[in-house]
Amino acid sequence: MATPRIGAFICHCGTNIGGIVNVPEVVEYAKGLPYVAHAEANLYTCSEEGISSIKRAIEQYDLNRVVVASCTPRTHQPLFRSACADAGLNPYLFEFVNIREHCSWIHREHHQEATEKAKELVKMGVAKARWLEAQQEFESDIYPAGMVIGGGIAGMSAALNLANQGFEVHLVEKEPGLGGRLLRLNRIFTIDKDPRELVENIVKAVGNHPRIRVHMPASVKAVSGYIGNFDVSVDEDGQETSFKVGVIIVATGAQVLKPELYGYGESANVLTQLDLEEKLKDGELGKFQNVVMINCVGARIPERPYCSRVCCMTAIKNAALMKEINPEAKVYLLYRDLMTYGVEFEQYYRDAKEAGVRFIRYTLDALPRVSGTESVEAVKVYDELMDMEIELPCDLLVLATPLIPNDDNEELSRMLKASTGDGGFFLEAHVKLRPVEFAMDGVYVAGTCRWPADIRESIAQGYAAASEAMIPLRQGLVKVEAITAVVDPRICKGCGTCTLVCPFEAAGLKECEIRGLEGKIVSEVNAALCKGCGLCAAACPNGAIQQRGFTDVELMSMVNAMSGKR
């Protein structure tokens, strides 16, 4: 490593920094630091002028390290790195020091102390910079095809979207037919239409699409590789087929809870809302006079705390339908809280009330109780408004139960390194900012496998996931920031600790091929899988694995600098 020649650029940021921190003093101090060949102040280092000043200095003082003390790397690091690159300096020979957010802005009343702190932060940055090494970013091609797991409405929407944009799509559906749970419904709320009208066109479009290959009935057996290069093998009707894709969209849906409550499964006249819809659709529902519906059955309770979101509307839909079929019938809807948000949902609820559906609120500490021999004949419920327990005659009891995660989510999550949370539903990378991506690059999520969603939401998520997935497919290339881990096979003892802590299975034990170490079992990092968290580096007992840009030497040199050690 050539003797470090560090350039330190201290930014006034107008008065943001210069107004509090004595920048000239910091510059003078920086000049005295080890390996600093040049230090200067800039009014705005990020300005055109500042950037060209950096480039000039690299040239003029033959700098091989650059330290900028200004704002935050989270916004400005790319700018300064590319400035270095333009001047022919490897962008990873740049170190950022934050003396604005972390200093001048938070110590406005203490100019002297802020200046001292700024000096120390610069000292720490310089100390680290001395050890920085040039890095090459890992690049790999993207295979221009995608896999969608799940042929429900969300999956089909995603598949069509991808295919219409010109990419090959493998659609994997575990049932023998496309359409998912939607086809089991009787009608769709707010528009009161038969779902078939909606779905069948989409199923046709998918089935006939030249770029969509439907695997059915099929299940994913194995997935290996990383964004751009996934190798997938599926079991298709007993046949093993494998193919390559660049991105994966998970849209496997959810299932409806079958409760062990209110005599469900014992009495013939106790159904879930979904059972009811199937009976209606097949015309199998017999006569009824007194219908009681109970919401939140098995939902929003300690062991299953979440709200399933679609049940209220479903229940209201079917309650109204009962009245429609038999206006003489008494229809009671027992609820804990009604989720009828938005414009047309609220209207839909009012209409149901108009139609004569009776809404009775119950609470978790006073659950409805059913009675009757063979079948349920009455439901007792404590009515809050009347402040008394009332008994409702009942010949049909319908339970609104929540959507629950599919049983194979865990297995799939292991295969895809896509995390699950919320008691088994899949978990996106960021609850707000990255709603349809997984933390694992190149894998996306849509529909009710994430959380209970209605048709509209599922379709929207399908489209969203597809267009997110399209970004790498269009770029055709992934670049990985060169802060990934590297192993020194001479020191590595192959204990495998790194392989155990790595969340992305980027580290693995291999036989070493380097001359002199042939056959030695050592860890090896797949830069494409590595996301640069550095967990392995912290866990490695003897520093054999290091995170580029955050090596032990670099971090310790900062700690030592702060402690006044050189």
Partner: protein
């Protein structure tokens, strides 16, 4: 008397801690006499495990100011040193007072008076007679204390010693005359002490570079520093800097030929690549190289390394094997 000594000098004497070792004491009451030989030899009194050589200061102009760290050092007295340790100092003199003079060591040597304590008993690991050491004698000390039962026989062997005795004359009574024979009587306790044959061992070692003898020992050795750090004659050290913003210091500290990085070079090359090579080095240094240079063996038979080696590598055993030819050098 020890109290008085502690007043006048830096008194170093055996103290009972986790184990008995030589320490600076303020009063006689801290001193224990219930020992055969302290765990750590007296070597650290002259050659401390860590010793600052000089300090340097640095100002913004990066100019260095250097000041030697040697404190003039009050003269000191070591009480209770045994014959083996006393001999080891004579051996270390050959190193630190050879063609290169080590003033740090020599100053302390000069300011120190050795008060020996004669041995009339020994540990199973003692074998100092092997090296012509009489554990009950005062050959290498300034003053020798011999416990002859109800009193000590005190003899001075050097001017330093005589001077000190005179200075503290008040503490000493006239001889009653029977001390000599009382001492001779107590010497009986030394009968049966190990005395190994070391005649021509250096040459015998010379034939032992190759051969399987060291294989097992090399495998057995853990490469820890117990033997070298406890050894009164081992004297290797390393030098390093502490560098702070405002200055720093250069210090030296014990090092051990048992450690891999002892001979590790920046290139990553290591001339003594395995523990066998390092073990071999240690015994060859003691039983050959040192002899080649100084015509003495670098061992005084104190037995510390034997007693404390966790895998029972036994220099007495090795000397025996080499001399008797069991080691395969014949």
């Amino acid at each position: 008397m020890l109290d008085a000594l502690a007043q006048a000098y830096d008194l170093i004497a055996p103290v009972q801690g986790n184990n008995i070792s030589f320490r600076r004491v303020e009063s006689g009451s801290e001193v224990t006499l219930d020992y055969i030989n302290p765990m750590l030899s007296a070597k650290s009194t002259f050659f401390p495990q860590t010793e600052t050589l000089f300090r340097f200061s640095r100002d913004d102009s990066e100019e260095f100011g250097i000041e030697p760290a040697r404190e003039p050092g009050r003269s000191q007295v070591i009480f209770g040193i045994r014959a083996c340790d006393a001999r080891s100092l004579r051996l270390m003199d050959m190193v630190f007072d050879g063609q290169h003079k080590d003033s740090y060591y020599l100053d302390r040597r000069k300011n120190t008076t050795l008060m020996g304590l004669a041995c009339f008993d020994y540990l199973e690991t003692c074998f100092c007679p092997t090296f012509g050491i009489d554990p009950a004698s005062g050959e290498d000390v300034d003053i020798l204390f011999s416990d002859v039962g109800d009193r000590f026989l005190v003899e001075a062997f050097t001017e330093k010693g005589t001077a000190l005795l005179e200075r503290f004359a008040e503490f000493f009574a006239e001889l009653r005359g029977d001390e000599e024979q009382l001492r001779e009587g107590r010497k009986a306790g030394l009968a049966g002490m190990k005395r190994l044959d070391v005649k021509g061992i250096a040459d015998k070692m010379a034939q032992l570079y190759e051969g399987p003898y060291w294989d097992d020992i090399g495998t057995r050795c853990l490469g820890c520093g117990i033997c070298t750090y406890l050894c009164p004659t081992c004297h290797c050290f390393d030098i390093a800097d502490v560098s702070l913003d405002e200055g720093g210091e250069r210090f030296r500290c014990w090092d051990s030929c048992m450690f891999p990085e002892f001979t590790l070079m920046v290139s990553g090359e290591n001339p003594r690549p395995n523990q066998k090579a390092r073990v071999q080095q240690r015994f060859f240094h003691k039983l050959k190289y040192f002899h080649d240079r100084n015509n003495e063996l670098a061992c005084v038979g104190c037995g510390r390394c034997v007693r404390h080696c966790p895998v029972n590598i036994d220099i007495a055993q090795i000397i025996d094997d080499v001399s008797s030819g069991k080691a395969g050098n014949e």
